[in-house]
């Protein structure tokens, strides 16, 4: 099956949100997606993009058949004060029916190539430890599991704890 990868455009926002929700549904967390198309549009295609996307689409069959967006990767640039600019892959998803065609591998290759071209010294992301298939896929290609090898743990403050920290307490 033919497919092509390209940079996301504003018109892709509904498809990006659709894929985000599909992935969240698979993780049984669809209710946690509160992001809207308007926010995705402002945040990705405004003056200061907070994220970038590569889209995978299957071309349309003819005049009556539109192309279909079947996968995406969302990424942004981060900073490691020890080695500099990094590319962080936030989301990486290909629809179930379109797996096994090499789309995922090609997305990863394009991102890595982009990372090197934009002066990044590394590409980072998170993987769930029970996702053995993915972990082995990345390790075979030379990735390091920093949590396992160096002991790094990911911590998160959510909204309520942030509000508490940001609100001055009476002395």
């Amino acid at each position: 099956m033919e497919y092509n990868l390209r940079k996301a455009e504003p018109k892709d926002v509904p498809d990006i949100l659709r894929l985000v929700k599909e992935l969240a549904k698979y993780e049984e967390m669809e209710h946690q997606v509160t992001l809207t198309e308007q926010e995705l549009l402002e945040d990705g295609f405004g003056d200061t993009p907070f994220y970038h996307c590569i889209i995978a689409e299957i071309p349309g069959g003819g005049a009556s058949q539109d192309s279909k967006v079947v996968g995406f990767a969302m990424y942004y640039f981060t900073y490691d004060p020890w080695v500099g600019k990094q590319l962080y892959m936030e989301e990486f998803y290909v629809m179930d029916d379109f797996r096994g065609l090499g789309i995922g591998s090609e997305i990863l290759r394009r991102l890595s190539d982009l990372a090197v071209k934009t002066r990044c010294t590394g590409m980072m992301f998170v993987v769930a430890e029970n996702n053995e298939v993915s972990i082995q896929y990345y390790k075979r290609r030379g990735a390091e599991d920093l949590s396992q090898e160096e002991g790094w743990r990911l911590y998160r403050f959510d909204k309520s704890s942030l509000v508490k920290m940001a609100t001055p307490t009476e002395v």
């Binding site: 946690q32 020890w82 080695v83 590409m123 990345y138 390091e144 790094w152 403050f157 959510d158 909204k159």
Partner: protein, 188 residues
């Protein structure tokens, strides 16, 4: 101890670079530090900065007296920093990542670390979103598993250890493995 917390400027990069190395020394990874104050200036103070930074200062009469390492002289008034950048969550939107938070050992116990962290939490981008209710802003960071004091510092303020709780592992491609992965793209 009196202290002030303010946004870093270009001239602070030499102090920030010094403290980055001090933090790396504490984390037992100084051989991994490859960039200098010049790169920090270029990357943090250009038209599209890759990070933002806060610094904590003490008055001259409280300048540092204890050596953090053999090669670092004494007498510093810039005694802590917090380096962060903006990230994006496909579930919640704009978020932040606190990459480094550090206070020189001599100046701990005075609320400087807490002050840096709450200043980050109050950051306009986060605060506006938090107050708006429709966003649930997030602040994420990483801590080494053996660094119990730091893990406690964040946990008592409500942070969750997602590696333990949800099994998330941080993965990185760099150096040769990144080149190899990218070079495959050229063949297509």
């Amino acid at each position: 101890m009196n202290f002030t917390i303010r946004a870093a400027t270009k001239v602070d990069c030499k102090d920030i670079s010094r403290m980055i190395m001090e933090l790396a020394l504490f984390e037992k990874m100084t051989d991994q530090v490859k960039i200098s104050s010049e790169e920090l200036e270029r990357d943090g103070f250009c038209p599209n900065p890759l990070f933002e930074c806060l610094v904590a200062e003490v008055p001259k009469e409280n300048k540092s007296k204890e050596a953090v390492s053999l090669h670092v002289p004494l007498g510093f008034t810039t005694v802590g920093y917090g380096l962060y950048f903006y990230t994006y969550s496909t579930w919640k939107g704009r978020s932040m990542y606190l990459e480094d938070l550090y206070v020189m050992p001599e100046f701990r116990g005075f609320g400087i670390g807490k002050g840096l962290l709450s200043t980050v939490a109050k950051c306009k981008a986060l605060f506006v979103q938090v107050a708006k209710e429709k966003h649930c802003a997030r602040l994420q960071l990483s801590v080494l598993d053996w660094n119990a004091p730091s893990r406690d510092f964040y946990a008592t303020r409500g942070a969750q250890d997602l590696t333990v709780k949800e099994g998330w592992h941080l993965i990185r491609f760099d150096g040769q493995s990144l080149d190899d992965l990218g070079n495959d793209a050229q063949k297509k």
